[in-house]
Amino acid sequence: MSKRSKVMVIASGGGHWTQMLRLRKAFEGHDVFYVGVKEMYRQDVAPARFYAVRDVSRLHKTALLATVTKLLWILLRERPAAIVTTGSAPGMLALRMGRLLGARTAWIDSIANVEEVSLSGRKAGAVADLWLTQWEHLQRPGGPSYRGSVL
């Protein structure tokens, strides 16, 4: 395998991170590294490589520049072939930036979005090669597909 066969998995805190952990079997066999929004999440994925970035929800806007810079550094250092995220905002940034650097991208919208796909999830269609909702009733032609859920 070339050194560009790495897989980047990124999720923000709480439920996004918990959902990502329920998918870990999918990452087995790849050179996978993780990006989370708190240093303490490192213990969940050890001994895999882990990077922490600051969260950038609508309530944490000041972190945006710091997070973009750190993500760029991570992407240039690791050069992942694919990026998978369970949301939210830092994952969206990673997909946008990673795609420009040639990575294949996957957005898995949070299962917490029961009645409608999240705002980020709707935007993800433009930057995700694999665009998924975890609710069958939210699947749409020209919208996200349903291929199961973390539950």
Partner: protein
């Protein structure tokens, strides 16, 4: 008896924390531990921490007789994994507790689930805790839909890596 209270690690949810602190004061024989997400209100009757590390979080959930939380999918999943009943109060956007009303929508779906009692307001928490004590755990979700998603993501990654 132990109750673990969690409102996630992202945002405070003082309405729930205040109500549970008051409940802890009225039930001094119960060990009440809370992950508060920070916030200005400092509990006096229950043990509390703004943020609990993932391993400690899981341990508190496993040790609790009942988990009391916001309607966070992380907590719902963990409660099912450790086999505990859950009492859940949705955050509300009109009270600036969250940026969208997705917890109300999730709560509607969650109401149908065995092992979960969704309450409409903080005044109902005490009765719900008593009701859920010793009751069934949050029903495990079964592996079928997860395997489907894992297979899909795996195929996507295998394809992405071979293209390189």
């Amino acid at each position: 008896m132990k109750v673990f209270v969690t409102v996630g690690s992202m945002l405070p949810f003082e309405r729930l924390i205040k109500a549970m602190d008051e409940w802890a004061r009225q039930n001094p024989d119960v060990e009440v531990v809370a992950q508060t997400g920070g916030g200005a209100y400092v509990p006096t009757a229950m043990k509390h921490q703004a943020m609990v590390a993932p391993d400690a979080y899981r341990r508190h959930c496993a040790e609790a007789d009942v988990i009391v939380s916001h309607v966070g999918m992380g907590t719902v999943i963990t409660a099912a994994e450790v086999g505990k009943p859950l009492v859940a109060l949705p955050r509300r956007r009109d009270l600036q507790e969250v940026t969208s009303d997705h917890q109300i929508a999730t709560a509607k779906w969650l109401r149908e689930k065995p092992g979960v009692e969704v309450v409409d307001n903080e005044a109902q928490l005490g009765a719900a805790i008593e009701h859920m004590l010793g009751g069934p755990a949050v029903e495990d979700f079964g592996a079928a839909s997860r395997e489907k998603l894992v297979t899909c993501v795996k195929a996507f990654l295998d394809d992405a890596v071979t293209r390189r």
